[in-house]
Subunit: 518 residues, 2 copies
């Protein structure tokens, strides 16, 4: 028996994935994944995309899943390799992205010897996965893949993980039973119970806000919400950072609850009725000494739909109940006046030049905040943000989105501090010729930490801790890093130079990077 | 109450660490670690070393602990940040390196809201830690640090982890009880029971091998083992990859059991008596289809010392029992003839030029194998290898060793594939002006995977999987990456050019990198 066995457990598993419509695997294999590696020559319907760090595999699978709503595979090496994927799997879990992780394990008879690379893989996997399966026989590969697929079809927490010992990858497996068409998961109808109380609240006009679960932020959900707002005068905001939302001048511009607790509370205090459309009661992002985490008192909260509901059906019911008018398109907010700060001016230019149907990934506050001011008036696009909060998402997510949607331009708005965590994504972008423009806000500091430290003291009084927020001495040369990874790069320090560089990047096929000194 | 509170739980914890002799913290903090961050301004006996990725923090703490046998701290942000540190903590656990991890957690009252960054930190920590403590009150900080320190004083598995909610970091804590001098852990004396059977086996001369736990590989252990070998004709080999060993021409050259199962079995089959000095019965690194994992049959194994024993005492007893002679220094093996392959010629030059008391970190087989052939004849030095097998160890470990031993030159022998996992270490090397020469074997492939794939088939028949072992199209420009991180770099493709570059690097204070195209 060789690893090239065309009926090996590894081949059976990839073939089953292909039957389910899986076409991509973001991979960083090792010795215990050799049979799975070799299986890509036998089952060519699933294409491996090599990543040079596992956090790139998982972040790319997250971005891929957000765009196509079906899973990519990841392939990582034992516990330590999988551990490197965990931070972006945390993000995928919070984004409700479908992902299936394949992890090789030692040959089953070898495991008991506790050799150097042995560790508790299942314990790691359980922290991010709805389903963790261990394959215990070659014949078990296809059924376990079916179970993993079923987990990715749920409404929330759609990461599944399979642990696949090397011997069962190699051994022959019987042909699995024919694929059974998957049931569409039942969605609840909790909203029907609440329609009677929510409609009068909405009639209170500007004193009501709909807090939307981001899953409702597709084109139709955005339209329905906008027309409800138009009909009632209510506001609409996301109840959490959206994993993906549709935005731009043909879409109603849904608001965001501010990040820091004081402005978040001030925003929400403006409403008597906070209506939860799949969203949870709003709380602060972090806990702060002397402040409640809960942003809205219980008596002002009105549950409407549950997260397990069909949220579009819920919005349609509400739309009808308040007499909203189909096609009563709400013009997007005009762009805010351009302030002088370079980051804001860059974001204004990105919004102005953004191609139709672009995908924009956003990580970090330097561009993330200002871009919101302009993106409502940009060409229609999809935005992928950071619902899980684990930095290192941006570059891999952009890679995965580009692999998922090769005909759409991807723009990665990125801060320099967070880009460092998974900068290996640049190399895979070059290898795949992924059509991504990376824009790095090179402010050479952890701005969010400086902001948080300044909330409690004067940075001048804290030289040691202030130095821990500075990416200086030396600064990072992002053009150099990009070029060394095979990505063409430009450095700019003014809006007009950015404009020229960005136009060049938009007309270039394949990855490019612009480092903005700001 | 502000975060600058000089009697905060965070300050109390750092002060207690300082009382225990801890002086360094490899840090990548976030918002939930702000009070710990600010505490470095109040307790300046512990110096923070900023890393731009958490795997650098943990790998550096591993290297630091191996050199000084006392812990450095790591500081990481919640579960996802800590997850990025896990692979190198796996290595630290397998290396028996003392490390104390500090992880901030959400404000205790906030945890129940399951906000974006919440995850099961303890589950992650348990996979690598001997001790996991959650601080439940500001007064609890110092006692928990004491418990963590106690865990780092054990013989094996010396990683401890403390989870420290943000509110208890900030709140005032009472002055802790005075530090009690730590008990020296009791070591066992299992070896006394076996002395009577082991001595006759050793008298069997060349048919016996001592398999040493690497913990005995200090200067004295190496001397004792060499003199036992001299007196009896036995061989001495490491029973596992050494976390650290002393090597070079004043030290007896201890052998290594080969990596692949066939040569490993052939080597061990040469001995009737395999005597375990703290080592476990030897097994293959990975399990292979159709091969036993156990390399030596039970009747040939002779347990001598247990891993919990005082291994130096065990060697001294054996030394005396076989009548070994103090000072019967065994000359190290002469250097092997230089083969033509460039990697081997580079290793010969590194060994020839290595300064006295250098520290050499080794990751990857391209340099790792050949260097063993020459390092026995080099100037005396400490070698740090990869007992845990999780790649991404080399660069951070070199950084940590340089921080631990600023007066010793560090040489990092590194493969390109593994360097990618934690390349962010280069930036901290530059920031700290760590005295490290990084030598990258740029063969632009995962050589180990090509070797393993070739064991089972012809790479030409496996174009898809073979492509997954190639770091090509584009290749990585390691000089560019280094320079972009603030590290001076040289590219060479011949031994004489290497020689010149290495001499320049050896006379340069601070980090340098040589990319060897091989």
């Amino acid at each position: 028996m060789t690893m090239l066995n065309p009926t090996s457990g590894a081949v059976r598993l990839l073939s089953r994935a292909a039957e389910h419509g899986v076409t991509v695997c973001f991979a960083n294999p090792g010795t215990t994944e050799l049979a799975l590696t070799a299986a890509f020559d036998a089952e060519t319907r699933v294409r491996p995309v090599l990543c040079s760090f596992e956090g790139v595999c998982s972040g790319a699978a997250d971005g891929y899943g957000r765009m196509l709503d079906r899973p990519a595979l990841t392939l990582t090496h034992l516990g330590p390799g999988f551990a490197n994927a965990l931070a972006n799997l945390h993000n995928a879990r919070r984004a409700d992205s479908p992902v299936i992780n394949l992890i090789g394990d030692h040959t089953s008879t070898h495991l008991k010897y506790d050799t150097p690379l042995t560790s508790d893989i299942a314990a790691l996997a359980n922290t991010v996965s709805r389903y963790v399966g261990t394959i215990t026989h070659a014949d078990d590969a296809a059924p376990q893949l079916d179970a993993a697929m079923a987990a990715t079809r749920q409404a929330q927490s759609r990461v599944a993980t399979l642990i696949f010992p090397a011997d069962f990858q190699q051994q022959s497996a019987a042909a699995p039973a024919p694929l059974v068409a998957a049931d569409t998961p039942m969605r609840g109808e909790v909203y029907l119970d609440h329609l009677g109380s929510v409609v009068p609240a909405l009639r209170d006009g500007t004193r009501a806000v709909l807090l939307l679960h981001p899953r409702a932020a597709c084109a139709e959900g955005t339209r329905l919400a906008g027309e409800i707002a138009q009909a009632t005068g209510c506001d609409v905001a996301y109840g959490a950072t959206p994993a993906r939302c549709e935005r731009g001048r043909s879409h109603y511009a849904i608001a965001r609850v501010p990040y820091f607790p004081e402005p978040a509370r001030a925003y929400l205090d403006g409403f008597r009725h906070v209506i939860l459309v799949g969203a949870r009661p709003p709380v602060t992002y972090f806990g702060y000494e002397g402040q409640d985490s809960e942003l809205v008192s219980a008596e002002r909260l009105q549950p409407f739909a549950s997260v397990e509901d069909d949220l579009l059906a819920a919005l349609r019911a509400l739309h009808e109940a308040v007499g909203a008018v189909n096609g009563s398109a709400v013009p997007s907010a005009p762009a805010a006046p351009v302030p002088n700060a370079l980051a804001a001016r860059i974001c204004e230019r990105v919004a102005a030049l953004l191609p139709q149907d672009a995908i924009v990934t956003i990580e970090g506050s330097t561009f993330g905040g200002p871009f919101q001011a302009y993106s409502a008036a940009a060409a229609p696009h999809s935005e992928l943000a950071l619902p899980g909060g684990a930095i290192g998402m941006g570059l891999p997510c952009a890679l995965g989105a580009a692999v998922a949607c090769p005909d759409r331009k991807v723009v990665a708005l990125q801060s320099d501090g967070s880009a460092m965590y998974t900068l290996q994504a640049l190399w895979t972008m070059a290898r795949e010729q992924a059509d991504v423009v990376v824009i790095i806000a090179a402010n050479r500091r952890y701005q969010i930490l400086q902001t948080e430290l300044a909330r409690i003291g004067d940075l001048a009084d804290m030289p040691v801790s202030a130095a821990m927020t500075q990416l200086q001495a030396p600064h990072l040369d992002w053009c150099g890093i990009a070029q060394a990874s095979g990505v063409a790069a430009y450095r700019v320090d003014a809006a007009d130079a950015f404009d020229r560089a960005f136009k060049t990047c938009l007309t270039t096929r394949g990855p490019t990077l612009i480092e903005v000194l700001c």
